[in-house]
């Protein structure tokens, strides 16, 4: 057996958290704790990069598999990665250290506890993306609720209690049905091992109900219209680092779940329910874009834009076309980077002015030019300007959609325009215009750590915008095989 690289990826943050637990909690600037957390996550990032380098792109089978008996004769602890999941793992390990650097200003009290929560969260998130057993997946998927609940509830804004409860209960409600489905799958097929399930397949007569049960969980987590309402609340109230984790990674769990489980396990049901997904996605794209236009609160606006972007993702996944699914994955990665960056940029001005309202700002470009330039880059990436990673994803998704359903694709394209509208309007109101608010004149430009974080995010956004090949090469074989498997399943119906 080789070195258990995936388990160490999962465990390392928890070990870091344990270490932090035994350090002393100092009031104020707790540098030791921060360095420990940063060190852990950076090491984790390097391991994941090593994972990517040694990853074999020419095959779609799972790699770095670890398979251990966990509950005798029932569940194995099985983890592994393929081209689809590896990118999400890297996204997670990439975003988390940036979150930890960013906590400087936003988290005032109990910094050590906050870092522990983030580290444990990272463990669970990586676990979700490598789990190859349904029960193990569910375990990680649900366990993530605990740290996130605390992050929102303890360090959040004024309505944090309401938001934390809403987040927790919505997600839990969606997930319990998935648990029923998972156990039912065990009794129908005799295993919860995803790889085996791919081979065995699940009887057609159960697929629809099982698909719906999984859907109930993923739809809440994505979030899809009409169960998206927890997201704006959670985003707005969470501290910046929490919003970043939520937007960049937590939402991707559902998209990943759709690809890995809904498509992989229930091909026929996926075909059956495609119209449902299309409808909900299109509504999400148009409706939430319109809502985003009307927001007064910057964080809320970005939250609604997340819902719209995830609408594109679900749309792309269920086109069941090579381009659509690849586009969805790239869109998820790109949205992970862009939304993280946008929340951080909002966080920057929020730390200085303690207001998230758009009307507080205006004319920032004349006082903080560096900030304005980076903000522009991220706004443009969010609306999908060619040359940024946002474009690649949206373009591929729409291409897939046009192949599959012309009408849906046309409506979704309108969403792209609306996306440009709310993003540019936001940018205009915050950055351009007259500098009316006197307090803004004293505002400071990005400090070194903020500059560093935002550049770290800007680099891959631009790089993959011009040169998406590394991403596409990684996922291509896996997606092709997924679609082939899907098509053979449909054909043999």
């Amino acid at each position: 057996m080789n070195f258990p690289i995936l388990s160490s990826l999962i465990l390392l943050p928890t070990i870091g958290a344990l270490f932090l637990f035994f350090t002393k909690d100092k009031e104020g600037n707790n540098l030791t704790a921060k360095y420990v957390a940063l060190f852990t996550t950076v090491v984790n990032f390097l391991i994941s990069i090593y994972l990517w380098i040694s990853f074999d792109q020419s095959t779609s089978s799972f790699q770095f598999i670890e398979d251990r008996t966990w509950i005798e004769g029932f569940i194995n602890y099985k983890v592994g990665v393929d081209g689809i999941s590896i990118l999400f793992i890297i996204l997670t390990t990439f975003i988390t250290p940036l979150c930890i650097i960013s906590v400087n200003n936003s988290v005032k009290n109990r910094l050590r506890d906050f870092l522990i929560a983030i580290l444990i969260m990272e463990s669970f998130m990586i676990g979700v993306f490598c789990a190859l057993d349904l029960v193990v997946f569910y375990l990680f998927f649900e366990a993530g609720l605990i740290p996130m609940f605390l992050i929102i509830g303890i360090w959040g804004g004024s309505r944090r209690v309401y938001s934390a409860f809403k987040f927790f209960l919505y997600t839990l409600l969606g997930s319990v049905l998935m648990l029923v489905a998972i156990i039912s799958i065990y009794w129908i097929t005799g295993t919860t091992d995803v790889v085996q399930l791919y081979e065995i397949g699940i009887d057609i007569k159960y697929q629809n109900l099982l698909w719906l049960a999984f859907f109930s969980s993923f739809a809440v987590k994505t979030p899809m219209w009409p169960v998206h309402t927890w997201l704006p609340d959670a985003h707005v109230e969470a501290p910046t680092a929490g919003s970043v984790l939520l937007a960049a990674i937590l939402l991707k769990m559902a998209g990943y779940g759709f690809i890995r489980f809904s498509l992989g396990l229930f091909p026929i049901a996926s075909e059956v329910f495609t119209p449902l997904i299309y409808t909900l996605s299109v509504i999400a794209i148009i409706f939430t874009s319109l809502i985003a236009l009307m927001q007064e609160d910057m964080k809320k606006l970005i939250a609604y834009s997340s819902v719209a972007h995830m609408g594109f993702v679900t749309l792309g996944i269920f086109t069941l076309q090579q381009q659509g699914i690849e586009g969805s994955i790239i869109q998820m990665i790109s949205h992970g980077l862009v939304s993280a960056a946008l929340f951080l940029t909002v966080g920057v001005v929020y730390d200085r002015m303690h207001s998230r309202l758009i009307s507080t700002y205006g004319g920032l470009v004349s006082v903080i030019p560096k900030y304005s330039i980076l903000f522009m880059l991220f706004a443009l990436a969010s609306l999908g300007l060619p040359g940024t990673s946002g474009f690649i994803g949206e373009f591929l998704i729409l291409m897939g959609a046009f192949k599959d359903n012309f009408l849906v694709a046309v409506i979704a394209s309108i969403g792209v325009i609306l996306g440009a509208a709310y993003m540019l309007w936001l940018y205009k109101r915050v950055v351009f215009g007259k500098l009316i608010n006197e307090d803004l004149k004293k505002i400071l430009d990005l400090n070194r750590s903020e500059y560093f974080i935002l550049s770290c995010l800007a680099a891959p956004i631009l790089f993959f915008g011009f040169y998406p090949d590394p991403l596409i090469n990684t996922i291509e074989v896996s997606v092709t095989d997924l679609i082939n498997m899907h098509n053979t399943n449909i054909a043999s119906k």
């Binding site: 506890d113 649900e142 029923v180 156990i183 039912s184």
Partner: protein
């Protein structure tokens, strides 16, 4: 000659009770020594139980009126360990209220003896004898803090209602005896068949009586008042130990004498289960007293345990036993926390007293956090696995409705557990509590919390022990 070694635990514990009574009467200030000796007696009884009976698959004694099988030995061990832990963390609480007397350990020992008899019973009369022995001891325990109005009220209430349920139970037993002509479970099982409709009355009466003992809805009314009024350590005892015994008897009744009548009782159990899960979850939301809240939460937990029993399969029984074992550990941890909320000889029991606990007592709050999330059934904590096994067994029998209702009520239940966590972590802090707790209290809290937290690393061991239990 019967093999008396098999009932050696019961014999030993009876002798120790008598000895301790005599000792307590003749020795002045004998509370401390009685306490220690009772702990010792429980330890020895546990050892004897493990040595003599743990490996036995099934043997009967005294004209088949007592049965020793893997279920009875496991449940006895859990009972004994539970009783031991309750006793060991009680002393400082009792001292505070100046009720640190010799009767307390002796009453606990007698109720344990009663439960052990119940657990091993294979005969209506033996069963009833054990039941009454434990009940009488419990009535006195409930009123143990007799200077407090609430405690007396709790004891009286418990006595009246419990006596009523015992009456129902006896009536049911007499009906069953009338139909089968025997009090022995095995013979009853052969004699009964489902054609006789009046028999249903007998079953219903017995089930009602038993449901009362485990406080399943709609026979739960006594639980919140009794739990609130009794001294906290006694409440801890109530929530853990008698439930184990009652559950064992429940299993025994359903799957030995009434095995052939599954059609008649399955619906009843499903109803009790669903009603308990939903009612327990909904009613707990409005509570302000922690002990009342625990009462309602224990009602809903009993609902999940019953869900396992409703499946009429060995897996279901095993999952129920796993559930109750994990529940015992969680309860122990929760009450250890509750016993730590003390400020200058006064114990605090309101949920609001927990407000902002995390500021002054980060470790205690962290333990509570783990315990509450576990009670809510969030992975990867032990409480999740407990529910998981139950629903696995339920879904094996394709009882989808039960599973979905059960899981949805966990969401409702999650709300009130989250509310406590919110009060601990998100609200403004109050004054500090005392931190000079007894070593045993700290130990039991640490130990049980670690068990809850790390259960997911070794989930197979418990299953292995429980998988020996094959009733059907």
């Amino acid at each position: 000659m019967e093999n008396l070694n098999l009932v050696l635990p019961e014999i030993f514990i009876s002798l120790s009770i008598m000895f301790l009574l005599v000792l307590g009467v003749f020795k002045k200030d004998g509370s401390k020594i009685t306490f220690n000796l009772s702990l010792f007696a429980i330890l020895i009884t546990t050892t004897i139980t493990i040595n003599e009976t743990f490996l036995i698959t099934r043997e009967t004694l005294f004209n088949e009126s007592v049965v020793i099988d893997s279920m009875s030995s496991l449940m006895k061990i859990i009972t004994l360990v539970g009783g031991f832990l309750v006793l060991i963390i009680s002393s400082s609480y009792l001292k505070t209220f100046k009720i640190y007397n010799i009767e307390y350990p002796i009453l606990i020992l007698s109720s344990i003896l009663g439960m052990m008899v119940m657990i091993s019973s294979n005969d209506l009369i033996v069963f009833y004898m054990g039941l009454e022995l434990q009940s009488l001891a419990l009535y006195v325990l409930a009123t143990y803090n007799r200077d407090q109005l609430k405690s007396s009220e709790a004891g009286l209430k418990y006595f009246v209602l419990s006596a009523l349920s015992s009456g129902l139970l006896l009536y049911g037993c007499s009906l069953i005896y009338g139909f089968s002509g025997s009090t022995n479970f095995d013979i009853i099982s052969n004699q009964l068949n489902s054609d006789e409709y009046v028999l249903t009355f007998g079953i219903v009466f017995i089930l009602v009586g038993l449901a009362f003992k485990i406080s399943a809805v709609p026979f739960h009314m006594w639980a919140p008042d009794v739990y609130e009024g009794s001294p906290t350590t006694v409440t801890l005892f109530f929530t853990m130990v008698p439930k184990i015994a009652a559950l064992t008897v429940f299993i025994r009744f359903l799957y030995v004498p009434f095995l052939n009548l599954i059609d008649q009782w399955q619906m009843i159990i499903v109803f009790l289960s669903i009603a308990s899960m939903i009612f327990g979850a909904v009613a707990a939301i409005g509570q302000t007293n922690i002990k009342r809240l625990i009462a309602y939460s224990s009602i809903s937990h009993i609902g999940y345990t019953l869900a396992g029993l409703a499946t009429a399969s060995n897996e279901g029984i095993q999952s129920s036993i796993i559930y109750i074992s994990i529940y015992v550990v969680m309860n122990l941890a929760l009450f250890s926390c509750l016993l730590m909320l003390r400020r200058k000889d006064q114990y605090y029991e309101d949920i609001d007293d927990l407000s902002g606990l995390s500021k002054n007592h980060p470790l205690l709050s962290l333990c509570l956090l783990v315990i509450l999330f576990s009670l809510a059934g969030i992975p990867p904590l032990a409480g999740f696995f407990a529910k998981f096994y139950v629903f696995k067994a339920v879904l094996e029998q394709s009882m989808y409705f039960l599973a979905i209702v059960g899981l949805l009520s966990t969401v409702v239940a999650a709300f009130y557990y989250l509310r406590i966590i919110k009060i601990i972590y998100f609200d403004k802090e109050k004054d500090e509590y005392d931190t000079d707790h007894s070593l045993w209290l700290k130990f039991s809290l640490t130990f049980s919390t670690i068990l809850i937290l790390l259960y997911f690393l070794f989930p197979s061991q418990l299953i292995e022990v429980v998988s020996k239990i094959n009733i059907i």
